[in-house]
């Protein structure tokens, strides 16, 4: 089951919101489908991103996939731990394997995301 306190995109990103900061990563289902993650190409801190724009790529053993900004705003932090140990994405997709933190510019964009229940239906 997916964590109840998060929101999701149809592209398998999760978002946790704390005040005006949204933390983003990929779901446990997504890491399972991708297989061993070997590299995550991150956006740069300070980048202004629009909701659902491609902001980086995830390189797994068998494929390379884009990941998308789940909300609009400014990239305020990227998870540098993934540079040396990208396998955390596989081990702790909802914890240490987070990707970026975005300072929300349009909080209403959160309404475009889907609930854990809806996400569960997509991956069922």
């Amino acid at each position: 089951m997916v964590p109840e306190n998060l929101k999701f995109t149809k592209e398998h990103e999760w978002v946790g919101v704390d005040g005006e900061i949204a933390t983003m990563g990929i779901s446990d289902y997504a890491q399972g489908e991708l297989g061993d993650v070997v590299f995550v190409e991150m956006p740069v801190v300070g980048d202004i991103v629009a909701q659902f724009d491609s902001i980086g790529t995830i390189e797994a053993v068998k494929s390379v996939s884009d990941f998308f900004a789940p909300v609009s705003g400014e990239i305020v932090e990227v998870n540098t731990a993934l540079e040396e140990t990208p396998e955390i994405v596989n081990k702790e997709p909802y914890g240490g394997g987070w990707f970026v933190k975005i300072k929300l510019s349009e909080p209403s964009g959160l309404d475009n995301l889907i609930s854990p229940e809806e996400y569960n239906k997509i991956i069922a």
Binding site: G35, D36, V37, V38, F39, E59, V61, K62, S63, P86, E87, N90
Partner: protein
């Protein structure tokens, strides 16, 4: 998994003073090295291995047995057409008249070589249904790039190069890369449930910005695009060009000519369809053939015949995209493809495709009850099995692929095309016997049974190969790309 050493490197096998030949002592004055700059003179050991001839021979023969190759076993790598490479090709390509020929040799002394290029081009054009050809590109992707540059040059000559190239979601990964490299934006369209191009989706993205539609036919699912003539008409209607990726040409030679289907440009993979070695055994060759209106833009020089039928290089092409290769392309590969086609003849070429399609469909009929097939349309020379039915036992396509190695077969192409979740893309080619196809089918069936009954056997596979299951994630994350040379060597 602990690393087991199966064969040491030839440097580790070296023993000082051992040699394969006894050279006579120096009987001329030692060369004066005064004129050589100090920093250019080697001070340390040369570091060449020292072994007896027999040990060198055994070392390399052993290495050749550790690897899997088409001369050792079945190699059903989808979209790669791993057919057997007849040894006659190699014999011809190793004749001194070819190997010792310098590319700048005066054309009066290299007539034979130019004649081979001319004839090969004519035979390939006959297969393509096209009016002109270049043999220069060195590989399939290189051919794609050259072909797209030709389209760009043509459209520029018509007024503007345009902006986009459309391709289906089943395309080879090289297609979007070539599109970007040639300055275009790739626009991807979804496939229909039968695996073919969605005509309505195509209609939705075609515009005056469209430079070309890039298609593989049959596509990477092995499915022939039935509506290809309508598709071509729609593309030409907006003034765009039709590009065919010839990776799957093995399915239709002598039956269907891409030019007659409406394709303006196509590339061939001599290392696939025309039985020259692949990859490390290559090099490759990716000729590009075109319709008449694109001929002025071909890379220079173009091999043409004069009024007496004598072939020569034509450099006077002011609208040419230029050169895409140092000289004329990989000439010795052309010699192999030329001989292959001369040996087969037109009838033989047709039979190649007949047998390729028959073998593929026979194999499919034997395994389809055990594996899924996402697209139900009858395929041609290859098919994409889907191991999703085995997922409930915790088995992924990689487990099936690895277990096949234990049965002595190379794994099929995996995880491609991307639209099939657990893809196993199988292309047997025409060169395999029914006995080999049956043995492979039995292995696939046995693996499907093992998936249910003893899934751990699959998770641990391969166990019969020199190297077991690798940690692919670790291999990609912590790259060790060469053998670490010991200090004392």
């Amino acid at each position: 998994m602990a690393e087991k050493i199966i064969e040491k490197t030839i440097f580790e096998l070296s023993r000082p003073g051992v040699g394969g030949a006894n050279l006579p002592g120096l009987d001329v004055p030692e060369a004066n090295t005064d004129s050589i700059p100090e920093n250019m003179i080697r001070k340390g050991k040369i570091g060449l291995p020292e072994l007896a001839e027999i040990d060198v021979m055994r070392h390399f023969v052993k290495l050749s047995t550790l690897n899997h190759h088409v001369e050792k076993g079945f190699y059903p790598l989808g979209s790669c057409t791993m057919k057997y490479n007849p040894k006659a090709n190699e014999n011809a390509a190793s004749l001194n008249g070819f190997t010792d020929l310098h590319p700048l040799t005066f054309s009066g002394l290299s007539r034979g070589a130019i004649e081979i290029m001319a004839q090969l081009g004519e035979m390939l054009r006959e297969i393509a249904g096209h009016e002109a050809i270049t043999l220069q590109p060195s590989a399939g992707a290189h051919g794609e790039f050259a072909g797209l540059l030709i389209i760009r040059a043509y459209l520029e000559s018509m007024g503007e190069p345009r902006k986009e190239v459309i391709l289906p979601d089943s395309a080879h990964g090289t297609n979007p890369a070539s599109i970007v490299f040639s300055g275009y934006k790739p626009v991807q369209i979804k496939s229909l449930d039968n695996g073919m191009v969605d005509i309505e989706a195509l209609r939705g993205v075609l515009s005056k910005d469209t430079a070309a539609l890039m298609l593989t036919n049959p596509n990477t699912l092995g499915i022939f695009e039935k509506e290809i003539k309508q598709i071509a008409a729609m593309v030409h209607e907006v003034g765009a060009q039709m590009y065919m990726d010839g990776a799957n040409l093995n399915a239709m030679m002598g039956y269907v000519r891409p030019g007659e289907l409406g394709f303006d440009v196509m590339h061939f993979n001599l290392h696939k369809t025309f039985s020259t070695p692949h990859g490390g055994g290559g090099p490759g060759s990716g000729p590009v053939s075109v319709k008449r209106h694109l001929e002025p833009f071909l890379p220079i020089p173009v091999v043409v015949r004069n009024n007496e039928g004598e072939p020569h290089f034509d450099w006077e092409r002011p609208q040419s995209i230029g050169k895409v290769s140092g000289f004329y392309g990989n000439f010795l590969v052309m010699v192999k493809a030329w001989l292959y086609l001369r040996m087969l003849g037109l009838e033989g070429v047709r039979e190649v495709s007949e047998w390729a399609v028959l073998n593929s469909n026979y194999l499919l009929s034997r395994v389809e009850d055990y594996y899924g097939l996402k697209f139900k349309t009858t395929p041609m020379h290859e098919f994409v099995a889907d191991s999703t039915p085995l997922k409930e036992y915790g088995i992924r396509n990689i487990d099936v692929a690895k277990r096949l190695l234990d049965y002595g077969f190379h794994a099929p192409t995996m995880s491609f095309p991307l639209i099939v979740p657990e893809a196993l893309m199988i292309e047997p080619t025409e060169t395999e016997s029914k006995a080999t196809l049956d043995a492979f089918a039995e292995a696939m069936i046995a693996i499907a049974r093992e998936a249910k009954e003893t899934p751990d056997v699959l998770h641990e596979a391969p166990v019969n190969t020199p190297i077991g299951r690798l940690d692919e994630g670790k291999a990609a994350r912590r790259r060790v790309l060469r053998w670490p040379i010991p200090e004392d060597l």
